[in-house]
């Protein structure tokens, strides 16, 4: 059965969405004080880098940027086959920071649950806010994003693919039926 691929966002739409999110983050947090960006591997880390750059362009401030790998916090060891594990790279303390957690697609919420557990093991942030490029619905946990690029109602069996170029710049978001 051939799958049907529909482009939802092109490169410039993604950039516009990220620029808006960057503005919203700054507005909501009244600037960059105590702000840190942490992207979830793999995908969220690339988007976090984009937001990092945009905030720098807007405010002229480079906020701390980290990446987090949540494999160790997943709850499906017994059923998944891919055991590859990425590395967490956060070289600054999280205590009393305002953490913007960044991911590409929000689906069941389990990844975000794992990421929050992982963050809290690393320190005690003042708060954690969630920035998402695509919210496709179907939550299984009570998790709500603070910043959303695009709400996209989907069927459960559909897939969302965020494509990046070799420099990790997002080029498109597609829906695969």
């Amino acid at each position: 059965m051939a799958s049907e691929i529909t482009e939802i966002l092109d490169s410039s739409s993604v950039q516009r969405a990220l620029t808006r999110i960057a503005h919203e983050i700054l507005e909501h947090n009244k600037g960059t004080e105590d702000l840190v960006l942490i992207g979830i591997r793999t995908g969220g880390d690339y988007l976090a880098a984009q937001l990092h750059q945009k905030i720098a362009e807007i405010e002229g401030v480079k906020v701390p940027l980290g990446t987090i790998d949540i494999t160790m916090y997943r709850d499906d060891l017994g059923t998944r086959n891919d055991l590859a594990m990425g590395q967490t790279d956060i070289r600054f303390p999280l205590g009393d920071r305002k953490v913007i957690l960044v991911d590409d697609v929000l689906f069941t919420g389990r990844t975000i649950r794992a990421a929050m557990d992982a963050l809290i093991d690393l320190g005690r942030p003042r708060n954690i806010q969630l920035a998402i490029l695509i919210d496709r619905g179907h939550r299984e946990l009570p998790i709500r994003p603070d910043y959303i690029g695009r709400n996209l109602p989907t069927a459960r069996n559909e897939q969302i693919e965020v494509e990046f170029d070799p420099q990790h710049v997002p080029v498109s978001v597609s829906l695969i039926k």
């Binding site: 790998d69 494999t71 160790m72 916090y73 997943r74 060891l77 017994g78 059923t79 998944r80 086959n81 891919d82 055991l83 590859a84 594990m85 990425g86 590395q87 967490t88 557990d117 992982a118 093991d121 690393l122």
Partner: protein, 311 residues
Amino acid sequence: MNFPHRHVLGIKQFNAEELSFILDTAESFKEINTRSIKKVPTLRGKTIINLFFEASTRTRTSFEIAGKRLSADTVNISGSSSSVVKGETLEDTARNIESMHPDIIVMRHSASGSCDYLAARLNCAVVNAGDGTHEHPSQALLDAFTIRQHKGSIAGLKVAIIGDITHSRVVRSNIDCLNKLGADVVISGPKTMLPPGLERLGCQVAANLTEALKDADVVMMLRIQLERQGKTLLPSLREYSRYFGLNETNLKLAKPDAIVMHPGPMNRGVEISTAVADGPQNVILDQVENGVAVRMALLYLAAGGEKITED
């Protein structure tokens, strides 16, 4: 990448890609050991039994810490407190333990092949923590990890391993592991301690210590145990030290940036001089530190490896 293994019985079962994958996985876990909260929930709800029929402080502690940092429940059973003394067979001991539903049994045993024996008879995963003079895979992997940490990569390095090769499980696993990762392994020791067929195992046997150390990138010294090795293999530790001990003078034969390793416990003044053991080239404590990360990786992979079909 998936991990198509139920057990970790020896280096022999892994190919180069899998060995690198284990080391990469350990790299991820290494970060946890530097946190203030040194614990992740990866193996929450899993039970790991450390079944040690031979005394071992370092390896047992390392496995225990590894399990605990992954949030597994770890239980230690040692040879002296087990029923082995009552004449129970290994199979019966293991079956009794398995009835308590552990997910992983980590075993150290004096009989070569005992982990293979256990794995063939049990449903839970078996991780070899040293079987007789056969294999010690976690040691070889932490050695490889430490070499990679200091040298960037392993391929093309000259690794000299010095000591009692016949009675060393560490050597067997190391030769296999380092070969698969592309190193050139050179062995040296008194001929009473060199078993037959070393070349076929994939290493070069040096004519003497000088030849072995010459331009080595890594020098690995093995523990000499007179009590294990009997009286016919060596006239004295003094003579051993003179011809096969590593000291500041002969270490100069190796490359200037060579690292010095020892699987421990060390006999200072026998196989390694104190000056070298504490010298700038030693990475002995890095080995111990990395041991925890490597064992975390092995436990994680064993727990998540080839799935058991429930029936």
